[in-house]
Point group: C2
Chain length 133, copies 2
């Protein structure tokens, strides 16, 4: 039924890179890190494996702003904060608000499977740096 999946060097390194960072890096950053371990790695392989790992439920794909996807080594449902100044994506450590699904289910008269919630603002680091336009 489900397609077989081999644990290749490439897949392991890609997963390791992603699991060992708290940031939510885009594919090309993962590519650069992984190349330190596997110099012949190709970007296409990174994308292929990120998609496989996503389908396996090992990682999450975050797509903010439509242009570029970021990946999250923590597959557990959680919320994110996006800094509008530097673009950093941070985890938001608050419980999943299941009541929201009930509210929406009532309004739409259909079942809600899950939701996605992101917060926007200026992160502490950028705020400390001060407003230099």
């Amino acid at each position: 039924m489900t397609k077989a999946t081999r644990m290749t060097k490439q897949k392991r390194v890609i997963l390791d890179v992603l699991k060992s960072t708290k940031s939510h890096p885009p594919a090309d950053w993962i590519y650069m890190q992984a190349r330190k371990e596997l110099p012949n790695l190709s970007l296409g392989t990174v994308y292929r494996n990120l998609n496989i790992l996503k389908d396996m439920g090992e990682i999450l794909e975050l797509n903010y702003g439509s242009t570029l996807s970021r990946y999250d080594g923590n597959p557990q449902e959680h919320y994110h904060f996006v800094c509008e100044k530097c673009g950093a994506v941070l985890d938001v450590d608050i419980p999943i608000q299941k009541e929201l699904d009930m509210l929406a289910a009532q309004a739409l008269e259909t079942e809600i499977k899950h939701h996605r919630l992101e917060f926007y603002g200026t992160c502490r680091k950028c705020k400390a740096a001060g407003p230099q336009s």
Copy 2:
């Protein structure tokens, strides 16, 4: 300060098309509709004006799934539901949950400007159609 902006035929027609639908169409659908009125309209102009209208606060850009943007003629903050079967995007008529921002602000120790919330599931129409794979 703010760049001047002319009300051209193209901009007006594009805005009219978007304001007169409850769906949340992508740029090429708007393009096709607007061409009924302005046969020489180009897709580049549609994109350019959608970005201008977005900056003016007249419309919203919705980017779900990273590949393709949809546009919303209602610029008021509101939530959306995405049908995982047919891809339709529907409005969710529930009040903005400002408490969420408080929660996240506490967790992150920074100010939250706003948030974005989307619900996922199967819409009533698809549910009625039954599960045909």
